[in-house]
Amino acid sequence: MPEHNVTNAESPVAVERLTHHFGHTIALSGVSLAVPRGGVFGLVGENGAGKTTLIKLMLGLLVPFRGNVSMFGMDPVKKPELVLARLGYLSEDHDLPHWMRVSELIRYNRAFYPDWDDTYAEELRKRFGLDAHAKVKNLSRGQRALAGLLIALAHRPELLVLDEPSSGLDAIARRDILAAIVRTVADEGRTVFFSSHLLDEVERVADTVAMINKGKLVLCAPMDEIKAQHHTLTLQFSEPIGAPPKITGALSIEGRGREWTIVCNGEMSAARASAQTLGATIIEETTPSLEDIFVARAGRGAMNA
């Protein structure tokens, strides 16, 4: 796999050969990646793939078993206050103190951040339609996520880290979250790191995508590169064939009889040539969606999963 040529100094986040276990369960295994500054980095993978573990290691909430984590060039376990001051974080379960009112929640959190911007916090509260007097426990799940997002954003962090921000939310709250990601990155130099299993959302907003499956990094590249390097081919044979055809670069094959659909990676000419050798006609050639690519690499039909 091509490594990202981004040095630690340029990257808000860089991890090297990161391995982490929970008892006998391997959560992450030899993961290396660097997040480019000023873009949206999407981390995708199924539930339990290791996404939250990676985020917790980035935040210094876990001490890595093996490997290095560098946040803005610092170790988050040794310098938590310096690292956390420069990032905003929204956790998966939006855990906020239930007994507080929205106004109290804002006042409580502003104390932790010297760069807290009151005007911006108030603007976000209005934009998200949050009632200052409402108690956190009475907010809907979507409103609680937006309250968490307000707190993550109001000190205008260099890096916004969102763990499954829109999982379990209704369409309107999901739009608000996506809009916040878009606005954050539109502000010069800010970086967004978010994990999601909703691949159409990642396809919308991410510049760079990392896929993890069962704790291993299966793909990490700019979105354009990923889209350019994957193809879906539909082949037709003159006679039904019993076993899936062998196509160069194939990641997954589906079909039966005369028609087979293949998601492949790499040079199209190689895949075309091997189809021709087998006497098949290519009846369709398309670009797969990010979801198709993920399923081809990590789903049940995948050839190397």
């Binding site: 996506l178 539109a186 919308r204 510049d207 398309t286 670009t287």
Partner: protein, 137 residues
């Protein structure tokens, strides 16, 4: 400017924007010197990465369809309408390719397809007249 993005068909989002802006210009819904939305505004309304919009606009500028004016915004260029004809032909060419591919699959020869197109054209051309006659009767 109305743009619809699809996440099902796999076509990169910037290319979907490029082809839809071309189509809007070709169909006359965007006219020379019309302003297109700023990058940030379009990104926020489509909920996509601003870099994607920037890339689409760059491509459209490169193709001579959009022109950036220093400090004021991005506009449909005057050359846009001349390009519109080629775009119209291109839109039709894509449709014709799909039609021919389907005819081939169904084992219908090209001559037959041409004859069918002429038949349908005559039929469609005749229809409004029939309606007029019906209305007059």
């Amino acid at each position: 400017m109305l743009i619809h993005l699809s996440h099902k068909n796999g076509v990169p989002l910037y290319l979907q924007i490029v082809s839809q802006v071309k189509y809007l210009v070709a169909s006359g819904r965007l006219r020379p010197s019309d302003e297109v939305p700023p990058i940030r505004t379009l990104a926020e309304s489509l909920l996509i990465n601003p870099n994607t919009v920037a890339r689409a606009y760059r491509e459209l500028e490169h193709a001579g369809i959009l022109v950036k004016k220093q400090g004021s915004g991005t506009f449909v260029s005057d050359a846009g309408s001349r390009l519109a004809w080629t775009e119209r032909i291109k839109v039709l060419t894509d449709r014709i390719d799909a039609l021919l591919a389907e005819a081939h699959q169904l084992d219908v020869p090209t001559e037959q397809v041409l004859a069918l197109i002429k038949d349908r054209d005559r039929l469609i051309a005749a229809q409004p007249q029939q309606e007029k006659q019906n209305a007059g009767a």
